[in-house]
């Protein structure tokens, strides 16, 4: 009874239409003719789709490990501080910052005559290692790394809070007993803290994954619908198909991506369950 309204809404707005999309993925857009796997064949030979898949994979594979490690590197020292409130809120703040407001700053920083080049040039002049730099970070392969930076910038706080929750959940007695037995800080970290954080790792990976799809906002705002090819993500592709009304390709791709994600989530969950 409590569940009914939500279930109804989910069914109407998500489940049923998704079944519809599933059906459409086997048909042509205009005539509605049944074409079996034609659409799937089209997308898997489509250059743009393959590029987007590659970039999205690359982005995820670079970002998630990086974020997980950085988050842990921040969380461990923070957990030892007495007053961690200020540090935590400073790290969390980017989460609250609307993408639209931050993008103007990124543009100023990564422009070819922007702040980053300015600072790098000053350093270069001081040390005599390099001269003036005019790299256009948004128009070259570096655009990808701008995106990575932006993702890390935004999500570190989230990860730190999750790690902290995990670390503070480890019973203190365990650590103290180890210390009494003469374990060094390093040993404590590798033998006690890390093994106890496996559960947190699972959720952090899943949630980082979820948040990694939102990077599209930054990418879109910084570089538009057709950015430099290294940052052309699946999200761009979906959007462009949507604008061009290529619903058959979109349906097939949505089914593939959805199915893939479903499989990954299930696998991760299975892996996590069996480890426990």
């Amino acid at each position: 009874m409590f569940l009914a309204p939500s279930l109804l809404g989910v069914a109407v707005f998500v489940l049923m239409p998704f079944l519809d999309v599933f059906g459409r993925s086997f048909k042509t857009v205009i005539t509605g003719q049944f074409v079996w796997f034609e659409n799937y064949k089209t997308i898997f030979t489509n250059q743009a789709f393959l590029l987007a898949v590659k970039n999205t994979f690359r982005f995820t594979l670079v970002c998630i490990p990086l974020l997980v490690v950085i988050g842990l590197m921040v969380a461990v020292p923070v957990s030892k501080l007495k007053s961690m409130g200020t540090v935590k809120s400073l790290y969390l703040f980017p989460l609250a910052m609307p993408t639209a407001t931050i993008v103007i700053v990124w543009k100023m920083a990564f422009y070819k005559q922007g702040f980053l080049n300015l600072i790098l040039t000053r350093i270069g002049e001081r040390t005599g290692l390099w001269g003036e730099l005019y790299t256009d970070y948004l128009g070259t392969g570096a655009a990808f790394w701008v995106l990575v930076f932006s993702y890390i910038w935004k999500n570190t706080g989230y990860t730190v809070v999750l790690w902290l929750a995990g670390i503070l959940g480890i019973p203190n007695e365990m650590l103290e007993a180890a210390r009494v037995d003469g374990a060094s800080e390093r040993q404590c970290f590798f033998k006690i803290i890390l093994p106890n954080l496996k559960g947190s790792l699972y959720t952090i990976v899943i949630l980082s994954f979820l948040n990694s799809f939102k990077i599209y906002r930054e990418a879109y705002l910084v570089a538009g619908a057709y950015p430099q090819q290294d940052m052309y993500l699946l999200q761009h592709l979906f959007n462009n198909w949507f604008v061009n009304l290529d619903f058959d390709k979109m349906a097939a791709a949505a089914v593939c991506v959805g199915g893939f994600l479903f499989a990954v989530i299930m696998l991760l969950q299975r892996a996590w369950d069996s480890r426990r």
């Binding site: 998500v14 005559q113 959805g258």
Partner: protein
């Protein structure tokens, strides 16, 4: 004795160093905000001078001053008193976020309560489905939402953005985390004392699960205040757009205007952040809970 003191000193030094290192990256966090604030109080002449490299093809760098030479509030004045469109957009954002959150409260919270309290057959599988749905990115469900909104004739109205968001499963998951922390014995005791199910929900679930609920609201506010994909896909009429979508449309030629508009967009988010920080953290932690 000296050795001991030296060791103590070293320990203190190390601690100071870690604190310093921890604060270092936060400079990266603060700089953008400071940039925006100073940009918004700069006169247009001064701004043009600093941003000149953006317009011309010279080899000069962009420059900036943390304290403007002639701070003015002219941009704020212009934006707040001379551009009624801005108010329309601000109001759009507010309205959509408020409707979404209210809807989520009405729909999602009872659902979370049901998942947390009534463990019937199949509820676990259903919950797993909710979790998967929460993890699907917008782009995957974009087409299906479009089709259903089209059929309901809601495209290009703000309902197109509000309704699918109301039935998002993320708040259900967060609130569920809060409700799970209520001891089962308490609910059973209430039941034995003859309280009806609604009464239990109101008198026990609501007050005790409040932190989960509020954290869902705080995370939801930040998310929907920032929303871009949905209105971009479903709203063609620019007068219905939220602020977050309009801001990037401002060109460099009106940089001062853009800075000011950014600051005004930022204010509600900061306000919610400062007020709800504890709930935000709680929410993040709940989002990490498994059944």
């Amino acid at each position: 004795m000296d050795l001991l003191r030296a060791r103590l000193r070293w320990k203190e030094l190390k601690k100071g160093l870690t604190v310093f290192l921890l604060f270092l990256p936060t400079v990266l966090v603060c700089m953008p905000v400071i940039l925006l604030v100073t940009g918004s109080v700069m006169g247009s002449g001064e701004l043009r001078q600093y941003l000149a490299p953006v317009f011309t093809d010279s080899y000069r760098y962009i420059s900036w001053k943390l304290v403007p030479d002639y701070p003015t509030f002219e941009n704020y004045g212009k934006l707040l008193f001379m551009t009624p469109q801005f108010f329309v957009l601000f109001w759009n954002s507010m309205k959509m976020v408020a409707c979404i959150l209210a809807g989520q409260l009405l729909v999602g919270v009872p659902a979370a309560w049901a998942f947390a309290v009534y463990q019937v057959k199949g509820s676990r599988a259903l919950f797993a489905l909710y979790v998967v749905l929460m993890l699907l990115p917008f782009q995957v469900t974009m087409l299906s939402s479009y089709l259903v909104l089209n059929r309901l004739g809601m495209l290009d109205t703000q309902y197109a953005v509000i309704l699918p968001a109301v039935f998002s499963t993320f708040p259900v998951f967060l609130t569920y985390g809060g409700f799970r922390c209520i001891p089962v014995q308490l609910i059973e005791a209430a039941r034995i004392d003859g309280a009806g199910e609604w009464r239990i929900f109101w008198k026990i679930g609501f007050p005790l699960g409040k932190s989960g609920l509020l954290s869902a609201m705080v995370l939801g506010f930040l998310e929907y205040w920032n929303m871009m994909e949905q209105p971009m896909a479903f709203l063609e009429d620019k007068s219905l757009w939220p602020l977050s979508l309009y801001l990037p449309e401002i060109t460099w030629a009106q940089a001062g205007y853009a800075f000011t508009a950014s600051i005004i967009t930022l204010i509600p988010a900061v306000f919610v952040f400062v007020w709800g920080q504890d709930y935000l953290e709680q929410g993040i932690i709940f989002s990490g809970l498994k059944e």
